[in-house]
Symmetry: C2
Subunit: 336 residues, 2 copies
């Protein structure tokens, strides 16, 4: 371990001031080109490491964007994250990631940490139970907030997500068009906005088709493969025999298809299954999953852009966007 190299080390080394070194390293035209080159060369040679803590303390800008998500192991969020990453990279900002798994305490702790590090802004897919006041607290401390995937009632922050009710309605209608009458809806927590809206879309489609919804066919849960697997097994074990299943998301659908196989039913043949999101795996599963694209790439890109714009002072122009879902038909659904 070596002694720390700072601006003054370089300044002394070359007989200039730290102000000059600081400006030169940021390539300011205030410093003569020759001096700049000399300083940069010296910095590289000495192995100088820029101290962001000091700089951030002085400027009160940190270049940090906090990103909070439910579950990065869910490809839907991973794909949003990729898009954010691509977008922020161009702006030379870095992001701190928190996987809160719908735990409000984890979310709160992380936000406190962001505040302590002087983060510039936060993009958040809010944990269950997040209130408009929670978001106001962040904004009150000077950080712009942007919501993705879930909206919060009463919050006046830009929000980027899909039109969930419409999306699930399309999926349900697709099964109805194929002749299905006993259609289950599996996954999603009813106390989230997405859970409610998707449930709504399902019920609306059934009602429009004159099918009476059966509460025993509606099973809420978290949204992992395991939840789908267990729910569908429980459903059939309870004596129900739906021929179509609308799933809250693709992960649930993949779990449901595995669960169906485990009880001797072939998905796409014996039971039709729809997903939601269109994660990349949907295409390569067998049977390939009929699903609804949930605009994850667009959501990530729009959120990151809106954040950068806001930080550059153009936040007034940022508007919430509800992306149109797109239907993707594959092999997991068929005529009854």
């Amino acid at each position: 371990m070596k002694a720390k190299i700072t601006l003054s080390t370089i300044a002394e080394h070359l007989g200039v001031s730290t102000a000059t070194v600081s400006l030169a390293l940021r390539d300011s035209s205030l410093v003569a080109k020759a001096t700049r080159e000399k300083i940069k060369a010296s910095a590289a040679e000495l192995g100088y490491i820029y101290d962001r803590r000091a700089a951030s303390l002085r400027t009160s800008r940190s270049g940090i964007i906090g990103v909070l998500m439910h579950d990065i192991t869910n490809p839907f969020y991973a794909e949003i994250l990729l898009a954010i990453e691509d977008e922020l990279e161009a702006s030379r900002r870095i992001f701190l990631l928190c996987n809160h798994r719908d735990n409000l305490k984890t979310q709160t702790n992380f936000i406190d940490t962001l505040l302590q590090f002087g983060a510039d802004g936060v993009i958040v897919s809010p944990a269950l139970g997040t209130t408009a006041q929670d978001l106001e607290k962040i904004e009150h401390n000077g950080l712009p907030v942007i919501l993705i995937a879930r909206s919060i009632e009463g919050a006046s922050v830009p929000t980027f997500r899909g039109n969930d009710k419409q999306g699930i309605q399309i999926a349900t209608q697709h099964l109805i068009d194929l002749g299905h009458k006993e259609i289950a809806f599996i996954g999603g927590l009813r106390d989230t906005i997405t859970g409610r809206e998707r449930s709504d879309g399902y019920l609306t489609a059934l009602n429009q088709a004159g099918i009476k919804p059966d509460p025993a066919l509606q099973m809420g849960s978290q949204s992992t493969r395991l939840d789908g697997y267990e729910s569908v097994r429980a459903l059939f074990a309870s004596g129900k025999n739906p021929t179509g299943i609308v799933c809250f998301n693709d992960l649930i659908a993949l779990g449901v298809m595995s669960g169906l196989r485990s009880i001797g039913k072939e998905p796409g043949v014996d039971v039709s299954v729809t997903g939601y999101d269109n994660i990349s795996e949907a295409e390569i599963f067998s049977p390939a999953l009929t699903t609804i694209w949930n605009a994850q790439q667009e959501i990530g890109k729009a959120a990151a852009r809106a954040m950068v714009e806001t930080l550059q002072g153009g936040g007034a122009g940022v508007k919430s966007i509800y992306f149109e879902p797109k239907f993707v038909e594959r092999n997991s659904t068929s005529q009854i």
Copy 2:
């Protein structure tokens, strides 16, 4: 947005010094209990936010641990991460995560960022092409390094991973014991240490059984579901007809099983498939995957503990561990 509340705001407010406030907020017994209480109450009331940049600048400790991984969407790494998270939480440290996707440049950039923020240490699953010198550069800047999942030749840093050669040998032997003779090996990059060791384990088992390895049955690749899916389809399309497939990891195996189905072959019946890692999904896929447990929970826990120990000055006692793989038999393999 309010004016910033600092130690001096509180100090002025109560007519004490900032030194006293600083000590009181960290609950130092140097400050009278009554004073402490008063200060804490005032801090809470004013909405004081501790400035870690300033503190870290002063103490040159940041409480940040960097964690670098190939791919957090791979549950193997996600499960390691969970274990690290649990362990670090207890020590009041936070971690910064980087998903480098085997891109050396992404890794380098992130490490530079860590250095700039004055991180205390780094736990890394190194990107392809990382050298012992790269790690030395980090240590040279005062950060202890701990490796997980992959080791680096010539590096003298603590490493926590499984015994890969042995693990794959067990899987291959299992297929041999079931009577398979045409056994493929799919996935993994041969230029990584894990890729080489697992390939080695496969070849060793075949050789011991007197089976001549066929190069056309060995397909290296990245390690996603999609890679498994495409590889197995290409393999059968090329005219080969293995009855058993040893996969580099579980994700590959899941992709392979989907790929088999897509060409009309039933995994576990027509073709036996083994995985590696034992991620949670292995158990709920249909057929449930026969695989090798790769100690991910243990790896994460050991790495985080070793890091905390090192930072507390007990690093001399930290030794590398190669965890024993465990065979888990399920339904994706059967007698030929």
